[in-house]
Symmetry: C2
Subunit: 917 residues, 2 copies
């Protein structure tokens, strides 16, 4: 009979599977098989392959041949350990554990001590002569199996246990606050339960099950086993697991394996123990056995927090005399030897679970361990230096995203673990900040001048707040999305920002902010923060904390530079930055940017003096008045460009001409309107009226970008003049300048042609006056689906395309970025309509196809068309991989993401080469 | 020498061109050639081909061989007429006229009497012995040439002429109000000017030219000729012509021909005359010579309005004794004979210009005449019945768009010509209405109940206004676009509507509307309208008039039915309607709709009782409360569907589940909020808060369509239940029912799968309870670019696609329909970025490609996938042509456009077949 192998046995030094079979056996099963083959002491068992769970979850059936294969494997286990499953005189107990292809720690279900029933427990007592141990194992099994397989709530079990604890406690005279919850648990630990208590407990547990399910607890061990196996399969679809899969991009189609393994016990007395360890320090990467253990305990005790776990090796934190190294030296020595071997074998830091049963060491799991960016860097580079990894392999070991930890100051992760945020908003601009709450820009500036760290808190920010935003260490707003004024300006400045934090109610007038705080299980409370109160915020996660949390500074090491050098050698994609100021330009150059891919000119207008002229321009009723106002802006723009060109020292600078709708520049508050009226001589009513006229029901799809130039060509004329005059001036100083003028939001070739006339005319004039010319490029954003489709024609005029994937995502998907996060987008990701937020990671199937189409058509017309991307996807590793694969020339991202993009681009190149081989 | 023929001669019964050469010779040139060949008396001349103007307009040069060819042709003309160009003793005079491929009446320039100068005018005097005639011709030429060629303003010429008129008038004792403008012209007609006056005038005209240009008026007739030819070329690009091209989709690349022709004169005394005529009545199509003439006049006099033109044939309106038929019988008879022959030759009603010079008849132009829809219909059908056109040819003769005139009541076009609108808004819903202004729905209902016709005038409408909108004859709003509440509801109801009329300032409280009226040349005045004042509005053009304009009712004839029958036989595309009510369904069936392509369910919720339950649903905080509210809506929805299914008698009905964002249903005014609060028991604060929570910065890209079902699946469950229960009920009565359930706004397959589960579950339940099932189809809108790209996958689940080209246009082009009309879109059309508004006529290059892609990919997955389109483009003829060409199954449009779509679909089929032959 050639039926498919559904069950893979491992044990006694020989396994049917191995480490390469993660898809089939899951990570845990593959690890157990590999360890067995390596001769590592692993309790025998077998793995049911992932396909079985996939089939079961869709059909609720398992293949007919499964039963026989499981029985055969189980018999081998019985033979090796010399015990028999369900034999009252010598019972074999097993664990049943899940195991997906990727690690999903704690997300799915496990059943331990399976095989116990009213008869086998007595056999176990007889055999071990340890009634406490056997009865404790049985009551643990009853609880776990009832929860996982029978769907009985854990609560009545806890109640029954507390009942007994209280009985014991009564005799000891416990205080009133020791009769409940954690206090009671601590006062009467499980080890205080004697045989009588445990027998009573088992009886009441069996009663609970009967009451809840209408049937007695299953005494048939085979029924127990199949119940547990199917429950493990089902747990692939539990909500925790589903959420974890979404977060980590794990496809639902993978399914989970089930591992059935002979039990070993760390709780058989003082010569038994259990623990978890890493082959290195996962925070630093330092080579030492790093982990925790507990004598006389089962695995769950180490993580449950009732008993404080002890350190494994001397000198890793705890008291030396409590370490495994001191307490159980022979087991420690064997563990050290084995773990060294495993790290060597897998060529990576391992995360290992072990149990010592009556002095004998068993390994229950080994897998690559999670680590900090710093550790990842150190480990990868050490292994490469040791000749155990190639540079390519070493680079692939580092999550590009994790570099964020190294580039920004962060809140100390240890402190964060112990802290509960009072609110969460959008992670609008990365990095952490701690400071005193202030409610307006002037106060922010005043306090900052005297050296105080401040956090500017506003309902939303507007151009009038710019000086305060510059002065603040962090920005926190109650309204607005990832493209709100606060978010965009903060990212540009590199200032941490949490935006759209809707739990906040900000009263700027009374200088008070109320936060509705919901903590698990507690009624909602309203926290009030006043001016000067300290808050901490994490712009990388969107969390806001009360009080000062410890900050950890950005730490760039020699390892980091080395890694970046490798990446630069390997990558094909160039990496530019999005930057609007000389400061941005400098930061980005330090991070390795090879040019500016997006210089937004509008942010230059938000400064005090400039905004006045800008408003004058918008309020002007004739072209002549507009030109007068624009003439005032010209010198400012020219100075900006001189600064940026100088800083970029001959690297290309792509400048996008004015993009946002004009109403964004008009004043909103009555005070600002009054001020503008006074400054411009335009009546307040006219200002309000103009604002109303410019109002749009869908500004994202409105009168912005090149559409402004079609109606007011003089704006782009002024900007072109500023760019080219600046270029001449910098070039006259002997520096090289590479300006690229970029037109936003076109839908076809014609707009580009109309603007080219404007640009060429200005260029002719500027160059004539200067007596010399500067070569510059003329190109466009592709950020509207129609532009992507018409790319063939557009490339007749455009010398380069820069894909504005933010807007292209909004239009291709019909989703407003500012609104969707607070309405349907989270559910769209949860329910699998979209794998991830398309604003964080490029929607390759939709937006990606438009980018590909535009690339094909554009290059067909103009084979040397320069192609880049300047949406925020330019800093997202999986998007960078896509852009590499379709053959763009460069990505451009915010300054702090430049190193991430460099590494991601290198990894993309490595992966592509690997596939082609 | 084989140089290209650039000049085509015609004259003396033989022409080098013919009627088929419109592309080369323009319409006028081709007509003149054809008439010449037919032996019709046409003054000799020649045509310079269109290519020359195209080349000239881009390079400002003409081909070197042109000059010789013009000279040769001119020599032939001289020979035929026996006169010589520039010869002072026997001068040949010529006209120089434009002539594009398509008729563009009056849009380009003309120069008459060319060849006159100070010498030749004396020769002409001698030859004609008519100094008045010759000098009058000269001063007319001076004016026209100076204007057209030399760009000298007409104003000083008018002043000089008025000066002379006043001199003459002085002697006659004119009253003060007769010394200016039109009064003066009437008091002293040109015919009162004697030789002395004219000589004086010519002298002062020559002085004006010299002053304005710095040079004397060109005396060299050859210089005159080339000046005029180039000016005619230039006039292809004048603003009037550019606008006309945009309006009529005439490509700028066509260019214009120039026609140079020997002058004949209708102003050589009482045996001379000039006129224009049609071979039929252009309003009715009745066969009779229909036109106007003037004795002793030049062409421009007939249209100038100084002298009242006379009728040509007896019994066509004017006094019989003033007709040409009576006054110049021989010329009339010849004209009648020739025009009969021309109509026969061209097989169409002709529009003819003629001149009689000293009793000899000359034809100067013949072309197909513009006609009313009614006339077009009659003419096409008569010609078909006479065997002179095939049915296909006859159908192509009728502009589908023009059928609108026959289907809706319209404002009497004669009255409209004489009236000036006080304002213009968006043509939001076609048809005309006249009635009393009212400012709120209750007043509208009250007055309508007592039989008064009312126009509801609001800043914008909201669901609370529905009863008033139903009661009103027409709706007028100051704000909102083509998809505003007013526009959508009005189109659904078939009520005329002008929306977004921004010149209005509506004060609903004081019941007054102010309109800023700008009339050419007059200062702006503010007109106030109060309750009860009468206004007229034209929903087809967006014009609003003060007072009652005459209405013409819709007039459907037997001819119309016959044409429609032909169209139905010929077309391949099916035509459905967009309709939300049994009334819509009935109207559309009467117009020949073959099903409902879009039944929007949301409008069903705006009724008084329903909106309360809808709001309850939106304000509910739990799923259970939402379901309770939805249960109240269920019977209403079911009734709606029963009505529609019954009316459609077995034709398919595509029902779109809820689409708009929920905030559209919430109350806005304080009164409505208070009423909702009272009815629902929800506090006013909560209602306002919920409104704020639901607010979106870009609602078009927001939480709507299927996105509502992902977050609130119970809404679509209720709607599905209502549809299927209604289907069962109607089917139980023995009628056949074909429901098609349509999911809006998907971006991929997954949303469709999620909703399919909801739909299938409800269907199972409904069918189980009914003890029987009804077949229904399940499909989706394709209205987001990503959905078009993912169509291959989507078709795995969808049994049909309906392209929502309105939203697909908004997303593909990134243009908000509600905002763009009042900001940049008009300029986009004017500057040629878009040929037409993409919301009126499908953008075939962009949106059209997405439709094609979706069609290809969808049909690849599911070859029998049903494909339709339900955007407003379904009723636009050129879009219908596109949908036919790419092979959709049907178009769906508003009820009143169904006949237009039927004809357009037939024409598309005819044209496609013709191309394939």
């Amino acid at each position: 009979m050639s039926s498919k192998q559904l069950v893979y046995f491992f044990g006694a030094g020989k396994a049917e599977g191995n480490a390469t079979q993660k898809e089939l056996l899951g990570g845990k099963g593959a690890g157990l098989a590999e360890m067995t083959n390596l001769g590592v002491p692993v309790p025998p068992g077998f793995t049911i392959v992932t396909d079985v769970s996939v089939g079961y979850l869709s059909s609720k059936q398992t293949p007919p041949e499964l039963k026989a294969q499981v029985e055969t494997a189980l018999a081998k286990v019985e033979q090796i350990v010399g015990m028999k499953f369900g034999d009252p005189s010598n019972p074999l107990l097993v664990s049943v554990r899940s195991g997906a292809r990727a690690s999903m720690p704690g997300m799915m279900d496990t059943v331990l001590n399976l095989g116990l029933n009213d008869a086998t427990v007595e056999g176990l007592i007889k055999k071990t002569k340890n009634p406490r141990f056997a009865l404790d194992a049985y009551r643990r099994f009853l609880t776990m199996y009832s929860d996982v397989v029978l769907n009985v709530s854990r609560e009545p079990f806890e109640h029954a246990l507390d009942e007994i604890r209280r009985d014991i406690g009564k005799n000891r005279g416990l205080s009133a606050n020791q009769t409940h919850g954690e206090e009671l648990k601590r006062a009467v630990p499980d080890s205080d339960l004697d045989e009588g208590h445990l027998r009573k407990l088992v009886a009441s547990y069996e009663e609970i099950v009967k009451k809840a399910t209408g049937k007695p607890f299953p005494q048939d061990v085979s029924e127990q086993l199949w119940g547990a196996i199917l429950a493990v399969f089902e747990s692939w679809n539990n909500p925790r697991a589903a959420t974890y899969r979404k977060m980590h991009d794990i496809p639902v189609s993978w399914g989970t394996a089930a591992n059935v393994q002979a039990m070993v016990f760390g709780n058989m007395g003082d010569t038994s123990a259990t623990g978890v360890c890493f082959t290195r320090d996962p925070s630093t990467g330092e080579k030492k056995l790093y982990g925790e253990w507990l004598p006389n305990a089962q695995g769950e005790d180490v993580v449950a927090g009732i008993r404080t776990p002890r350190k494994i090796a001397k000198g890793t934190g705890g008291p030396d005399d409590e370490t495994l190294e001191v307490g159980m030296k022979p087991a420690f020595d064997e563990l050290l030897k084995i773990t060294e071997r495993l790290e060597g074998h897998f060529n990576d830091m391992q995360d290992i679970e072990f149990t010592i049963q009556e002095q004998k060491l068993y390994l229950l799991q080994c897998r690559s361990g999670k680590r900090s960016a710093k550790a990842a860097l150190k480990i990868a580079l050490e292994l490469q230096r040791a000749g155990r990894l190639t540079k390519d392999e070493a680079m692939l070991r580092i999550e590009p995203e994790s570099l964020n930890q190294l580039l920004h100051p962060i809140l100390d992760p240890e402190v964060v673990k112990r802290s509960t945020p009072i609110a969460r908003g959008l992670n609008a601009s990365p990095g952490a900040a701690v400071g005193a709450v202030v409610f307006n820009a002037d106060e922010a500036e005043k306090r900052a001048l005297r050296g105080e760290a401040v956090i500017l808190v506003r309902t939303e920010t507007s151009p009038e707040d710019i000086h305060g935003m510059k002065a603040a260490k962090g920005i926190l707003t109650a309204r607005g999305g990832m493209t709100s004024h606060a978010a965009v300006v903060a990212r540009g400045m590199g200032t941490p920002c949490v935006a759209g934090c809707s739990a906040l109610q900000v009263d700027e007038h009374k200088k008070i902010v109320r936060v509705a705080v919901t903590t698990d299980g507690k009624p909602m409370e309203v926290v009030e923060l006043r001016e000067g109160d300290i808050v901490s915020l994490d712009g990388g996660t969107g969390a806001v904390y009360r009080g000062a949390l410890a900050l950890k500074p950005a730490a760039l090491s020699g390892d980091f530079s080395e890694l970046m050098a490798w990446a630069d050698e390997r990558r094909v994609l160039r990496v530019r930055t999005n930057g609007d100021t000389p400061k941005d330009a400098k930061t980005a150059r330090n991070f390795g940017a090879e040019g500016i891919g997006l210089c937004r000119t509008e942010h230059m207008f938000f400064d005090d003096k400039r905004i006045a002229a800008m408003r004058e321009m918008i309020l002007a009723s004739t072209k002549a008045d507009r030109e007068t106002a624009l003439a005032k802006l010209l010198p400012f723009q020219r100075e900006d460009f001189i600064g940026i060109f100088t800083e970029m020292q001959g690297l290309p600078v792509t400048i996008r001409l004015l993009d946002p709708p004009l109403h964004e520049f008009l004043p909103h508050s009555p005070e600002a309107i009054a001020a503008t009226s006074a400054a411009s001589g335009v009546s307040k009513e006219t200002i309000v009226k103009r604002s109303e006229d410019l109002f749009e029901s869908n500004p994202m799809l409105g009168h912005r970008g090149v559409r402004l130039a079609i109606t007011y060509p003089e704006i782009y004329a002024m900007q072109t003049r500023a760019i080219l005059e600046a270029a001449i001036e910098v070039s006259n100083k002997g520096l090289s300048v590479l300006p690229e003028i970029m037109i936003p939001l076109i839908i076809g070739k014609r707009e580009l042609d109309i603007c080219k006339e404007i640009v060429d005319e200005v260029a002719k004039d500027v160059f004539a006056k200067a007596g010399r010319s500067i070569p510059f490029m003329y190109g466009t954003m592709i950020e509207i689906p129609r532009a992507a489709l018409r790319a063939g024609e557009i490339a007749e005029t455009a010398e380069f395309f820069s894909f504005g994937t933010n807007d292209l995502t909004q239009t291709c998907l019909g989703i407003s970025r500012d609104d969707a996060d607070k309405s349907f987008l989270p559910q769209y990701v949860e329910q699998g309509v979209l794998a991830k937020s398309p604003f964080n990671s490029l929607d390759q199937e939709g937006v990606g196809e438009l980018v590909s189409i535009a690339k094909e058509r554009g290059r067909k017309t103009r084979p040397k068309l320069k192609l880049g991307i300047c949406g925020e996807h330019g800093g997202d590793p999986s998007s960078v991989d896509f852009f590499h694969r379709i053959g763009l020339d460069y990505v451009s991202c915010s300054p702090f993401r430049v190193p991430i993009a460099r590494l991601a681009a290198a990894q993309a190149a490595v992966r592509t080469d690997a596939k082609q081989k």
